[in-house]
Amino acid sequence: MSNLFDLLVAGLATGAIYALVAVGFTLLWQTSQTINFAQGEFVMLPAFLMLAAMHAGAPFWLAIILGILLSMLLLGLAFKMLLVDPMMRHGVLPLAIATMALAIGLKEAVKQFFSAEASPFPSIVPTGDISILGHAVSLQSISVLVVAILAVFGLTALLNRTSLGHQMQAAAQNPTVARIIGVPVERMILLTFLINAFLVALASLLITPIYLAKFSSGEVLGQAAFIAAIVGGFNQVRGAIAGGLLIGVLDNLAAAYVSTQYRAAVPMIFLIAVILFRPQGLLGRAEERTV
């Protein structure tokens, strides 16, 4: 049983990261029908921006701020204006394919300008253990979980409790009516892109000390988060969160109790089952759009 506790904590910590990334999938889908297949690479890039800032001589805290700001500029503003806006009018599929191309471009660019090798990345929390109920739990895992939960709560509060959030919801649910009642729809959409960029930068900061900074590290993550978003419900932020945590835990339990050889298969089988029996996702609602 002690083993089960460790597995749950590790699984929840990994799942929290998936959740942060998966939330971005649903946000962009809701407001602009963008399926961003470069989402994994969006998590990989901020770590390299921070490393580049540190190589240029910036202290770690400044590198973090610069990294987050640059991410919001590149992965939020520039992504929307230079890729999503021009491709949008051609439909959802061409846009999805364009984001796949972007993913390849980002990976190759990092490989070219940085290195093909993995680099260590400093951790914002000390690498020690704390004792919870007599179990040694890594501070890193706990902090990942806590920060991810705080970020998600903050986002939910923003969406449900503030006028800004209500405007974003209106822009997502019915852009035409929202426009008529005076909601600046374009600005709301841009805001979701900036929020997504902030979340991926945060995810990057949290996981790179564990995953290591490497140009290809977005592949696994993007895939896991995409599965999480579908399992939870692509049109619900809370669905993406539940999906992320579930996939993280499932992966670890499968490795421990089914077979280490089939660990990667279990979430996939689960995904197929969800698509077959509950295509809108566990918490999603059919044919409805809400942030």
Binding site: N3, D6, L7, A10, G11, T14, K111, S115, A116, E117, A118, P120, T127, D129, A136, S138, I210, Y211, L212, K214, F215, S216, E219, V220, D251, N252, L253, A255, A256, T260, Q261, R263, A264
Partner: protein, 376 residues
């Protein structure tokens, strides 16, 4: 008439001179990106360093060496296409790839073309298929794993062992030999865990090791995963001694795993920390040129080029077809060819015999604990 003859003679002379001065072309296909990027980049840099040195001293038999590098993306399918492309350009010798899976699918192509292939793969089966053109730069698993098993049984005195391996050609090959050897020696394998390349979370795997409570853990996964599993083993407080191969205690692993690498031991065919003067000199040259300390793959790439040089000079001619025959059974002494770093003998199957090392990570540094002599 006279002028035509003169022109003809001049032309013939010019052709002969240019043929004489023509560079010897080598082709390298390596893991420059993807999961094996660490392997391939070190290998490539080792090759470039050796070629630069050799050319600065006048080349091989008076001819310069030239190399083209191609990226296999750590993918056997891509490696095959790149090797085919490289062979179409008719190189003197083919260098790489470094991953066993990629070597396995490309070796038949080189053999068919009759071009010798000097590679970095370590899977046992590679040199057991009767290929007459394939050569190793390091020990195959059939040479190294028995030494590993013997150390676990004799020196670590482990009666029970957990074996963690990566589920690919490299990992499975090593796992098969070591499990067989441990069994033969009387050490029991109490946990046999396969992991995925690129795996991030090792909590479940380490949990299983902990539950099995072995006397020793044998870890046989690639460098980045080694770093991650070392961290997780430390976090979950596994105190059983860790034994592995070069991939567990390489420079990159130490850099990535930090403190968690301390205490890990490994059998190393090649290490830049070997107490051998020529290797120390190589390490300094490499670090000066590339600003980092190479791992064993840097040594392998470097040695591959010097194998080409020594064999060609032994033959006294640049003959691509006769190269493989000349290298079989050849012993190259470091006293005669310092670039080969340590005395080495090549068998008829392309396997090597050379001294090796038992290394432990102490305070972030590889420390050689034992030197294991050449078998013959």
């Amino acid at each position: 008439m006279k002028s035509t003859l003169l022109a003809g003679a001049l032309l013939a002379f010019a052709t002969a001179t240019s043929a004489h001065a023509q560079a010897i072309k080598l082709a390298d296909v390596a893991e420059l990106s993807g999961g094996g990027a660490t392997v391939g980049t070190n290998w490539k840099n080792g090759i470039d360093l050796a070629i630069e040195e050799i050319n600065a001293k006048g080349g091989v038999l008076g001819r310069k060496l030239e190399v083209t590098h191609a990226d296999s993306q750590s993918n056997p399918g891509v490696a095959r296409a790149q090797v085919q492309k490289a062979l179409d350009a008719e190189p003197y010798v083919l260098l790489g790839p470094g991953y066993s899976g990629s070597v396995k699918v490309t070796a038949p192509l080189a053999a068919e073309a009759g071009i010798a292939q000097i590679m970095g793969g370590e899977a046992a089966e590679l040199t057991q298929a009767g290929n007459k053109f394939l050569f190793r730069t390091s020990f195959g698993q059939q040479s190294s794993m028995p030494k590993v098993a013997k150390y676990i049984h004799d020196d670590m005195k482990a009666k029970t062992v957990a074996v963690v391996w990566v589920n690919n050609d490299f990992g499975r090959g090593g796992r098969d030999v070591v499990v067989k050897e441990l069994d033969r020696l009387g050490s029991k394998v109490v946990a046999d865990l396969s992991t995925e390349a690129g795996q991030v979370d090792f909590a479940a795997d380490v949990g299983k090791i902990k539950a099995a409570n072995p006397d020793a853990v044998f870890v046989y996964v690639n460098e980045e995963e080694s770093a991650r599993i070392l961290k997780e083993l430390k976090r979950q407080g596994v105190t059983a001694p860790l034994m592995g191969e070069t991939t567990l205690i390489g420079q990159k692993v130490i850099e990535l795993a930090g403190d968690a690498a301390n205490g890990a031991r490994g059998h190393v065919g090649l290490t830049t920390d070997a107490p051998v003067d020529l290797i120390k000199a190589f390490r300094d040259k490499f670090a000066k040129k590339y600003n980092y300390v190479p791992d064993h793959n840097g040594l392998k790439g470097y040695l591959a080029v010097y194998m080409v040089k020594a064999t060609t000079e032994k033959m006294g001619k640049v003959d691509s077809k006769a190269f493989a025959d000349a290298l079989h059974g050849l012993t190259i002494k470091a006293a005669d060819e310092p670039g080969i770093l340590m005395d080495v003998t090549f068998s008829d199957t392309g396997d090597i015999d050379r001294q090796s090392f038992l290394v432990e990570v102490v305070e972030g540094k590889q420390v050689v604990k034992q030197v294991l002599p050449k078998v013959k």
